[in-house]
């Protein structure tokens, strides 16, 4: 009986450790990726959780740690794009509209806080003016720094199409943040 329980318990512990490490390693990056696409913390939180649950349920596909990050980004962007398709459009929300418990009380100096807030607002304004495809392409290429080929694979379109999305996104983004960038 003990002999049989030993390996099972060890496997369960291993699985739990793997789960913890996997979540801790990738959560911030995946949350930010989704947040930049959907534009608000509440949806980003739900979709980040959904992404990790999907990924951990198919953990046999994530044995290779090097490919895990890439694969997870793909799951995340697809989850976010699916969400936007269902929801119709992204809903960009400023954090000061959120409930108080999410805000941090021990932020740096008030000036730094204001500057940081302004920069984030400018970024959100630039991203909000893009279509979902353009925004996703820009986030993956310019924020995640993925090669255009990988962005095309994420979005399930040709490299020429993704180049067009990236170019349009950069032109619009630059126009939208011009003059308001702190």
């Amino acid at each position: 009986m003990t002999e049989r329980q030993g390996p099972v318990t060890a496997a369960a512990v291993d699985a739990r450790e793997f789960e913890n490490a996997f979540i801790q390693t990738h959560m911030r990056r995946i949350f930010l990726l989704i947040y930049r696409i959907v534009g608000n913390v509440d949806d980003a939180q739900d979709l980040t959780q959904e992404t990790f649950i999907k990924a951990l349920q198919r953990r046999d596909q994530i044995k290779d740690a090097a490919k895990a990050a890439h694969w997870l980004s793909r799951v995340a962007s697809n989850t976010a794009i699916d969400f936007l398709r269902r929801a119709g459009r992204a809903s960009f929300t400023e954090l000061d509209e959120l409930s108080e418990p999410l805000t941090r009380s021990h932020e740096s100096s008030p000036e730094a806080q204001v500057l940081r807030h302004e920069r984030q607002r400018t970024l959100n304004r630039g991203l909000a003016g893009l279509t979902a495809r353009e925004r996703t392409a820009l986030v993956l290429r310019d924020i995640e720094d993925l090669p255009a080929e990988d962005v095309a694979a994420h979005l399930g379109c040709s490299k020429a199409t993704v180049r067009s999305h990236i170019a349009n996104a950069r032109v619009k983004f630059k126009r939208l943040i011009e003059g308001v960038r702190p």
Binding site: Q45, R104, A167
Partner: protein
């Protein structure tokens, strides 16, 4: 060779991060070498890309990440566990091994054989129009019209089954006649039995 026509904004935007094809990039570089305005535009695209990259990697201002991360981690674990429970459910369905199946088949055979040997042999169901039994001057008969008890001395008693269909008559050698029928109006099944004491 310098071109007098300015490249499109999309070409400049792609060139800013090296996303333009080789030949197109070569042409554009030649143009940029002699065009301050386009060079400045490319720099602006690089700056806005850098801004997106830098700010995009920052958490939203004012977000309590530790708290949010803890909440998400707990929810993820809960979700994964719930998924595992759902996935395990079909596997936990008891399966019948061939040994158990063989044992069950044996028991069924014994029960069937026992029932066959113990079945009542003195009773017959019939679709015939008439069933009759006589004992010590008393005749009990069953017909589609009903049950009738007649004494050879003259008296009789009749139990009528009006508007009946699917009438089954039974004669039992132990002195019973019975009919079973379905009432046409109500669909009710009625069984009537008449005993003759010997």
């Amino acid at each position: 060779m310098k071109s007098n026509r300015h490249p499109s904004q999309t070409a400049l935007a792609l060139h800013a991060a090296g996303d333009l094809g080789f030949w197109r990039s070569l042409q554009l570089r030649a143009h940029l070498a002699g065009c301050d305005r386009c060079r400045a535009t490319v720099e602006e695209y690089r700056a806005s890309r850098q801004f997106a990259g830098t700010e995009g990697a920052e958490l939203p201002a004012g977000l309590n990440w530790d708290r949010l991360a803890a909440e998400m981690t707990a929810n993820i674990k809960l979700g994964v566990e719930a998924g595992q429970i759902v996935a395990r459910r079909p596997a936990s369905r008891p399966s019948l091994s061939w040994r158990a199946a063989f044992a069950m088949a044996g028991v069924t055979a014994i029960v069937t054989a026992g029932w066959f040997l113990q079945r009542p042999t003195n009773q017959r169901w019939s679709h015939q129009a008439h069933a009759r039994i006589e004992s010590r001057g008393v005749v009990a008969q069953a017909s589609r019209a009903g049950l009738e008890l007649t004494e050879t001395a003259g008296g009789s008693l009749t139990l009528v089954t009006p508007r009946a269909e699917n009438v089954m008559l039974t004669v039992n050698t132990e002195g019973t006649v019975a009919n079973r029928y379905v009432d046409q109006a109500t669909g009710q099944v009625t069984i009537q039995q008449l005993y003759v004491e010997q």
